[in-house]
Symmetry: C2
Subunit: 201 residues, 2 copies
């Protein structure tokens, strides 16, 4: 209903039927993944709760893998903004905490677990995961680049390695050792990451 | 056939039918997981290739979750010995490389991905994973404790944190970002872990 847009919502994004269908379908994808898991996910099962024809979903996405990639990219970048607090350690703490919170949501967790479960290297989900993480690391590297500009850490620091050292243990605990990730844990990860970067000089 | 044991095999482990059944069933579990995945795994599907009655598998393990835990514990501890090279960095490099190699085997990978895929916190697999990692961290902590005794790193170093900083990125790449883990990558992880531990003093 684009006609309902009012002057108080000047930045409302494309509110047309197409955008609403997309949003409903992506949310239904996440919900279905959370409820039924990847093995049971079908375009039909997604179309129904989204209130959309199965044919429309087929036409627009074609495969469940395409659906999952789009839901993944949308949900992952939306929820984890890149902080700019003035110090690398504080940036990494905020960022790590946002990641930890995001992964606690059951619909996000379902997509993470579905992606992790796929062994076939030729699966489109594997390709989607790689693209997702390349995008996320590219965005997050800004925190490290700014710290280099401020002279906090050596100029030849590898941004990706710093980000990975904060992010990887959060996912390891979620997927493998099943331990909780509290604020103190994230603060330690960030402190160690910064000290390690300085010690590499 | 315990009677076939000869004096040249004095340390051969319990070679009875029970041990052979166990070994065949655990291997069939890993193979089935690799071929069909967790969702399709049934005690029946495991019994057939192991050449064992379905009833025997039911009697001994009861659930597929019990089967998976036992296969996990057996395969995980067998294949990744704890090195003792004289320096923490070399120990961590050897250990990290052994983990990376182990996770490349498709039957091991299948069990890792099956464990990661489970969202229900009450699943016996979640409990099995926690026990598996507690055991593995306990064993691996020896490397860090020896380094403390040698005075390589501060006495208050947290062994688990050091091990986790080497292991977590290997699993993160396997399960999430789908990047390869080469020798240089593991060497960097080990070097950074040791420097970070020293810098914490």
């Amino acid at each position: 209903m684009p006609g309902t847009q009012t002057p108080t919502e000047p930045r409302r994004r494309r509110g047309g039927r197409s955008a609403r269908v997309r949003s409903a379908v992506l949310q239904a994808t996440l919900d279905e993944l959370a409820d039924a898991g990847y093995a049971a996910l079908s375009l039909e099962a997604v179309a129904r709760p989204a209130g959309v024809n199965k044919t429309s979903v087929y036409r627009r996405w074609g495969t469940r893998e395409n659906l999952i990639l789009e839901a993944m990219l949308e949900r992952g970048s939306q929820q984890v903004p890149i902080p700019d607090t003035g110090t690398l350690e504080r940036d990494l703490i905020q960022y790590g905490k946002a990641i930890a919170t995001n992964t606690r949501a059951s619909d996000v967790q379902a997509i993470i677990r579905a992606a992790a479960s796929i062994q076939d290297p030729d699966s489109p989900i594997v390709d989607a995961s790689r693209r997702f993480w390349t995008t996320r690391f590219g965005l997050a590297s800004e925190m490290v680049k700014r710290a280099i500009e401020r002279g906090e850490i050596p100029a030849d620091t590898d941004p990706r390695a710093v980000i990975e050292s904060v992010i990887a243990p959060i996912y390891f605990r979620l997927l493998m050792s099943r331990q909780s990730v509290g604020p103190t844990y994230v603060e330690n990860l960030a402190r160690v990451a910064v000290r390690a970067a300085r010690a590499e000089a």
